[in-house]
Subunit: 719 residues, 2 copies
């Protein structure tokens, strides 16, 4: 309504601004939730609007921003806002809606209060010292009532948060106007078909199709295909757009909707003619910080396609895949976070995605309605802290973590376990015949991990009592789940308990998670490796989603050689079928276009799915072997494992910069800009290093403590 | 963003519609909350935006609407929506965004899912049998996930509500476009003053000032005054608007903001000239159903001014007053509901106001931040049910009633009582020196009434367990509060307990409420009447707000003669000072323009405040003596009390129509279209009635049971 005029004001105001130490700010999570609504409601299925089926939340339409400043000199402060606003200095309002105020020297409190129903209230403030940034405090209820004498309340007990922000450092770059950038891309080939023009962009991509030299009157239909088959099958392609054309003279037309495609089949009716088509490639402008190269060309190719897959699936948020949902799914996003830490290491996309997934109170369902996805969300918050060291985000989110865990806690059955209640989607994985009945071991395992995570976070948020309660609850649940599900006959956790009886069914899920959660004894780990992970009689996993964890578990057990072969077979298998990005599901036993089917639809499967990119994570964490052991890489571990490669080299991002590593069968070279690292080397002979002291830890394991910004060269012979 | 195109579609679609048995529908409460945000954020103070200080909630941006129908014949169904939408028949989506669908004969389920961030998702559906109305079901989370075969979930446990609606029965009348109607009004006089032109509209009014024959270049300032003093005091008037003029030829200009005023002082700078000014009076188009006339002209005048006061303060919602806040305050609104039942009896404004006050979960503060106002909200819900018989509204709101009571329950201190915690505004009344410290008897009394109300509502919502718990909690609290606060020395409930010690301070609040709540014994009532209500040593009440309850308590004690004099003194006192609407506060001891001051500001007081209109309620309920004793007037009581009047006559609205009553010292005439009534007559001799049987109840009280739609004439002699 009234926010448009302010947009103009801000553009004018921009002329007066210079440097960019200030940024647009908002209520933390609000812009993120709003932006996710915009993105997630762009989905169409064959032209029909296809929104999410869970609750969509909104920003607070009325927000107060404030901060105290101490000015040595008086200063002029320029103000922009998205919404209707007022400005107060030391509790006294300025007349009207000032675009600039004069603030005298001394200690002052500035408040800006903004109403905006349609888009998130946001402000941009720039003086010399008074500038908007994340140190400002915000609330959706200031409770500043006055009594009959006009005296303001001083008992408001208002909860303030630190302002949210991103990178909108220009007053003209209004947060609500944000769009991903685009770049023009030419087609690699085009062929006339019976019905139209089939344009090939040579690989999976995403963007706005541009039609060149269009004229005539009629409709142009754009049938998108991740495969050639899909684009040509106009009756079954998952997505299409139609453009109405009515122009005498040839000109270019850009389709207003961005879509996933490799192929577009352009079918015109009426007398419409066109010259050719190109694409405005739409992308999130994130640079790679991490890298990986090795002696095996097939692995390098897998890494590159995984990299491209993750980039395509990283948009305003980490989404599932680019063709179909383009929604934010917690289980998918959790894997993207982990891959991101080894590639782009972009904190902002992680935080945005976490905010958007959580939404707001009250909690009315599991995240995405899925029980397992709720627990990945908790784990994602803590992991983010571990990789980034950003404690403030965790602390600001603690209350929403707690209310979500309250929701879970109140859904326990009489045995204190979780089973699917009406409204709970027990997902686990796409796998036919997978039982979701009764008390499933996998869900209890995630629940225990969720409680452990809450204990860690409560401690960090200085909620000591909560921390103690969560810790005790997690320990009790772990004990209970082992007493119920561990089978000495099967040498494994069984899948579920139904009507009080543990089933005999063994699946991989709980077993592989228990390995990298560190829940098994050494004895159990060995048993499970043989009885489950390397046992072909236990149903195989056919999604890259769960292969992520399966291979992680194997890596955690030191099976890098085996995993390398699995990667080459599984991801290499997709490449052999012509994949230019990795898929939502891959079953090597299928043939031809049958690979494209899913959900009972011929082209239902997504051929560019974030969870297909897990080699990024596996290669960084379990081959280069780099991981933080204290928040933000204040401490970290490097445990390189060649796993059959002759050499490998790569970079792993940390908040301080990249850890750089080269490793061959004889030599390791490493530098790191981060805290204190431990290089752990398995070697038959004692490694030699001039730059540091190599200490034996027994069993052919050696350790070198690394200082930052120093290059180490170690000569060794791997076992 | 994208809702504008749909607006156009709907206008076109309108051409095909005829009759109006269908209406725009939305998620119940969502439009109401959205509209309240629009209204409440119109407040300005001397040109500065002045928003509320509590949490503003939003509509759900994504809503699914559905209903099942059984069609004898196939039919065409036209669809309009505010937002982006899809339409499904029996779970299968139609392509695109259909404006009309064909539905075959038979049993079908139709779903429409709408996304709209800026304004509430709403739909308007019209076929022959398929039509949108409040029987449709809505949800903000349909949880319709599908499995890997494409099968939809059938375990969603989704909570559906009945759709909300009002009177938008035309597809072109989009809910978000709603504006109150206006009517042109001429000024009664205008005078040139030193600074400008002072225009008088003769009485308090509200609307958009229209300037006629404006030309020149400069700024026109409109200084509004509820009093002449305020309009002329350009440095201190509470409200003003400024209009920029730049036109060579004279034309008319309408100020875009509607304001309260009797006077407007028009001050132009530059070379701006204007001819004269008028007003577009903005009003809620509600007709009076109730009425009151009597032998006392002063009372008739008070009734008329009260009527006008309530009409002015009844806008999109029941607001406090028209000049300043124009906000929805629960304590003020509660009184408007009660007055409304005796005047306009408009259910829609009551429901809208209740929805808007409650907002959404989570509850983060008391309603309007005020402890007492939370309890009026509960009472308002039950009263609405009692007067209207609308059980569905109560049942649909039960969950929000419960979460609000949970909030209250969790704020009890170790004694199980409420005292102001940080963030709680203990208001009670505007009265200087009124203590808000410790455990205040008035708040415990309201808390007990709130729990009793919850017990009644839980029972109606079929939550029997809740009902039993609330009933027990209310009884325990009542017992506790009498044991703490009742003083045998003071013969009254004392004001508070501080540090475990009851104070000796006696105030009117708890004592007068305990009377009409029926909490006192007959003995206590008599004691309190003398020791508190008629005791001039107990601090007097200076707001019409609390005078409402004080006079109600006295009426409940049979003191109508005394109350009639009080009305004439107090409300008559305002009229003698020239009031054309009743005030927020009136202290007869003040002089001249001092009456206009409040909150430390010269013109801070509102001179048209809803709570000033209580004679509407008192005269209807305690003189005409009409009140429901079962929901929706299925049963009711008429107990006329002349209170010193020679005769009175009036109408009291019920859902079935008006009860009409004439009563003189000798005769009563009454007809009623509603259920079963009891006419209760105090008379020295046995009344005579040909149309019914008069039964003696002892103590000179007689009772006549009335059938509906029958005229009764009773001859009697009042005591």
């Amino acid at each position: 309504m009234f926010f448009k005029p302010f947009m103009l004001l801000c553009v004018f105001a921009a002329l007066r601004f210079t440097a960019a130490a200030q940024t647009w700010i908002w209520y933390p999570g609000d812009y993120e939730i709003w932006l996710s609504n915009q993105m997630q409601n762009r989905r169409t299925e064959r032209g029909t609007f296809y929104p999410v089926f869970w609750k969509a939340d909104s920003h607070y339409p009325l927000v107060d921003f404030h901060r105290e400043f101490n000015l040595a000199q008086p200063e002029t402060v320029a103000i922009c806002a998205e919404g209707r606003y007022n400005v107060k200095l030391d509790g006294k309002a300025f007349p009207g809606t000032p675009q600039a105020i004069e603030v005298p020297a001394g200690k002052h409190k500035i408040n800006i209060k903004v109403f905006n129903q349609a888009t998130p209230p946001a402000v941009f403030v720039k003086g010399i010292t008074i500038r908007s940034d994340s140190s400002w405090q915000v609330t959706f209820e200031d409770k500043e009532w006055i009594d009959e004498t006009g005296k303001a309340s001083d008992l408001s007990a208002t909860i303030f948060k630190h302002a949210g922000n991103w990178n909108f450092n220009d007053p003209a770059a209004m947060p609500s106007a944000y769009r991903l950038p685009v770049a023009p891309v030419a087609a690699t080939s085009a062929e006339k078909t019976a019905g139209g023009l089939l344009v090939d962009f040579g690989k999976e991509t995403f963007g706005f199709v541009k039609l060149h030299g269009v004229k005539g009157k009629g409709t142009v239909s754009l049938y998108y295909g991740e495969s050639r088959e899909e684009a040509l099958d106009t009756a079954a392609s998952e997505t299409f757009d139609r453009i109405t054309i009515d122009q005498l003279n040839a000109s270019d037309t850009i389709n207003p909707h961005s879509k996933a495609l490799r192929y577009v089949n352009i079918v015109a009716d009426g007398n419409v003619q066109l010259d050719h088509a190109s694409l405005l490639y739409e992308y999130a402008p994130l640079e790679d910080k991490g890298s990986f190269r090795c002696s095996d060309g097939a692995i390098n190719k897998i890494y590159d396609v995984a990299r491209y897959t993750l980039h395509l699936s990283t948009r305003e948020f980490f989404i599932d895949g680019i063709k179909r949902d383009r929604w934010i799914w917690s289980g998918d996003a959790y894997q993207s976070y982990l891959m991101n830490y080894y590639l782009m290491n972009d904190n902002e996309t992680v935080k945005r995605t976490i905010y958007a997934l959580r939404g707001k109170d009250p909690v009315t369902s599991h995240i995405n309605t899925i029980m397992d996805y709720t627990f990945y969300w908790f784990m994602g918050v803590y992991d983010y802290y571990l990789y980034s060291g950003d404690k403030d985000f965790l602390v600001q989110n603690y209350d929403r973590m707690k209310t979500l865990m309250d929701f879970v806690w109140n859904r326990r059955n009489k045995n204190g376990l979780l089973e699917g209640l009406p409204g709970d989607w027990v997902f686990i994985d796409w796998a036919s015949g997978l039982s979701k009945k009764g008390e499933i071991s996998f869900e209890q395992l995630l629940f225990a991990r969720g409680l452990e995570t809450m204990a860690l976070c409560a401690d960090l948020a200085d909620r000591k009592q909560d921390a103690a309660q969560y810790k005790a609850a997690a320990a009790a649940l772990k004990q209970k789940l082992f007493s119920i599900y561990w089978s000495n006959e099967a040498k494994a956790l069984v899948h579920s308990r139904v009507n009080g009886q543990p089933t005999e069914n063994v699946t991989r899920y709980a077993n592989m998670f228990a390995i990298f959660f560190g829940y098994f004894s050494e004895e159990q780990k060995k048993e499970v490796k043989a009885s489950v992970l390397l046992n072909k009689n236990v149903p195989e996993i056919t999604t890259p989603y769960m292969r992520f964890y399966e291979l992680e578990a194997l890596c955690a057990l030191g099976e890098q050689n085996y995993v390398l072969q699995e990667m080459k077979n599984y991801w290499g298998g997709m490449l052999k079928l012509g994949a230019t990005s990795f898929w939502e599901e891959y079953d090597p036993s299928k043939k031809g276009a049958a690979h494209y089917a899913m959900y009972g639809r011929k082209y239902g499967k997504s051929l560019c799915h974030a969870w297909g990119a897990s080699p990024l994570y596996l290669l960084g964490k379990y081959y280069l072997g780099v991981k933080p052991t204290a928040p933000g890489y204040a401490q970290y571990e490097v445990k390189p494992v060649l796993g059959g490669l002759k050499w490998m080299e790569g970079k792993v991002p940390t908040p301080a910069g990249n850890i750089e590593l080269y490793c061959s069968e004889k030599e390791i070279k490493i530098t790191s800009p981060a805290g204190t690292g431990k290089l752990i080397i398995a070697s038959k002979i004692k490694p030699v290093c001039k730059e540091g002291e190599v200490v034996s830890k027994g069993n052919n394991v050696y350790e070198l403590t690394m200082e930052k910004n120093k290059e180490y060269r170690i000569l060794y012979k791997a076992i």
